[in-house]
């Protein structure tokens, strides 16, 4: 079943797999090897997508982000370059249009080790070994909150993320987020049940004046989630306008001083 995948050649690469198995990470690896245009879409997701925002920040080239509107143009793109389409963990094939047979199409499942047989095995023609262990239960709840423009106190964010990923607000199987912190930086947070959280700074310009415009938000999948408590604790961890301008002024003066020294 496993075929050798030449992910540099033109065509459609449809990627699926369970929550947190490393789909976006695998796509990131493929796109960063690439010399031509980098084309990515996550058609199963709503108006905003943390994964595309992550790829946009972390890939050096210009990511061509496909949204639902230009799904019809995909075939045209795919005849010239590789096009990566990431599906959610629910393998929702309904969101995809029917593609004509002249476009080479690869179905890739990114699966954690030890997953014996699953719907992905039947669907995929390429299997990629992802990370973590398979959670037997499918998440029954997904909470998504857009936090664009919000700026966090890092100590509070650390506390609420710890609580979230240790079961204080229900059983979390997967959580990811992009958060702006007060020193002007933005971070990618990622958690899969049974593993340590992963943190990465995003390549975004440092924002030390007013509120950052880049996409920020959180997505939590799990069971019995106390969505209200998650939202209110996140809100309590963010700076109001007055505090934000006070601390930003401090950081601007640090930055100015260190420039003089160096």
């Amino acid at each position: 079943m496993m075929t050798q995948l030449k992910s540099q050649s033109p065509g459609l690469y449809i990627v699926s797999g369970p929550a947190g198995s490393g789909k976006t990470h695998w796509i990131f690896q493929q796109l960063s090897k690439q010399t031509g245009s980098q084309i990515y879409g996550a058609p199963s997701q709503s108006s905003w997508c943390l994964d595309s925002a992550y790829l946009e920040s972390q890939l050096r080239g210009d990511l061509q982000n496909l949204n639902t509107r230009n799904l019809a143009e995909i075939e045209g793109w795919a005849l010239k370059s590789p096009v990566y389409l990431e599906l959610g963990f629910h393998l929702d094939l309904q969101v995809l249009p029917i593609f004509s047979s002249c476009v080479p199409c690869h179905k890739i499942a990114v699966l954690p080790s030890g997953l014996a047989m699953s719907e992905w095995h039947f669907w995929a023609d390429n299997l990629v070994l992802g990370v973590g262990a398979m959670n037997p239960q499918m998440p029954s709840q997904i909470q998504k909150s857009d936090l664009t423009g919000e700026v966090f106190d890092p100590a509070s964010l650390d506390m609420v993320w710890y609580e979230l990923t240790h079961g204080a607000y229900g059983e979390v199987q997967r959580a990811k987020g992009i958060f702006n912190v007060v020193d002007g930086r933005s971070f990618w947070f990622s958690f899969v049940a049974g593993q340590d959280s992963y943190y990465e700074e995003l390549n975004r310009p440092r924002c030390l004046e007013s509120r950052p415009g880049g996409l920020s938000g959180i997505e939590v999948c799990g069971q019995n989630l106390d969505t209200e408590a998650i939202a209110s604790n996140l809100a309590a961890s963010c700076l109001n306008d007055q505090l934000l301008s006070h601390y930003q002024a401090q950081y601007r003066s640090y930055a100015a001083n260190s420039e003089v020294v160096s």
Partner: protein, 270 residues
């Protein structure tokens, strides 16, 4: 004489009862309490009434002071915006429920107590809100003990128990004036000790168990006690009484959060 020293009960009546039973079994003859009778926990009045009924000599803790003076009396002791918001919530909740006579009792508590060469205080002898952390520089720590004239200083407030011995040592002091080297003065100090007794009702050592200290004045032996109790009862009461459920979650894990940030860049509203 065997004495028991407790601190930071924080309205946790179940934990207090378990500790009282444990110290009785260990034949403690006298009890001292280092304050923070109220705050976070669901039974502030009952805890104070118990301490009063047993006539336990008690110092005023940071929470006791804040309940009497209002939050403005306190210097910033929250490590994050979130901890501050939760602290304020706990403060308001306690403030609304506390009986006037309980408040009067908390108001008249002393900052520190002395018994022979022992001194008892909540945070530091100077301030209920000061944290004597185990990693505090040795000179500053020694200075805090010396200021009391005692050899052993019992404190609480950090919610993490420890014993720190400040070795008998000498401090050399030389004042140079305008390039000329001055005279050197040498102070010698005998052995001093700081004993942090941890917390009965809001531990921060990663387990829900209550901690306190037994001290034998004859043998000078310090015994740190960790006492299991039915913390689920307190957790249930926290939720029943309308305190935020996250307080129960953290209590069950020994994760009390209101520890002062040492990082001067931490963010707070004050």
């Amino acid at each position: 004489m065997k004495i028991a020293v407790l601190s930071c009960i924080h309205g946790n009546y179940e934990a207090l009862n378990a500790v009282l039973l444990d110290l009785e079994q260990h034949k403690a003859e006298k009890i001292y309490c280092l304050g923070d009778l109220v705050g976070y926990g669901p039974y502030p009045n009952a805890v104070v009434e118990m301490i009063r009924s047993l006539d336990i000599p008690t110092c005023q803790g940071c929470w006791d002071e804040d309940i009497v003076e209002g939050l403005n009396a306190c210097e910033c002791s929250y490590p994050s915006l979130l901890a501050e918001q939760r602290g304020k919530l706990a403060h308001e909740w306690t403030h609304e429920r506390i009986y006037p006579e309980v408040r009067d009792y908390l108001a008249q508590l002393p900052l520190s107590l002395r018994e022979g060469d022992l001194c008892f205080t909540h945070g530091s002898p100077q301030n209920q809100h000061e944290y004597l952390l185990p990693e505090m520089n040795a000179f500053a720590a020694l200075e805090r003990v010396l200021s009391t004239g005692a050899n052993t200083l019992f404190c609480g407030h950090t919610h993490v128990p420890y014993v720190r011995t400040l070795e008998a040592g000498s401090i050399r002091l030389r004042v140079d004036y305008k390039g000329e080297s001055g005279e050197e003065t040498v102070f010698t100090t005998p052995l001093r000790r700081i004993v942090n007794v941890g917390s009965v009702g809001e531990p921060r050592h990663g387990r829900p168990n209550a901690t306190y200290v037994l001290y034998d004045t004859e043998t000078d032996h310090v015994q740190l006690r960790e006492v299991e109790y039915d913390y689920q009862k307190t957790c249930a009461a926290i939720i029943e009484q309308g305190l935020p459920p996250i307080f129960a979650w953290r209590l069950a894990r020994g994760l009390e959060f209101a520890e002062r940030a040492d990082d001067p860049s931490h963010i707070c509203e004050r």
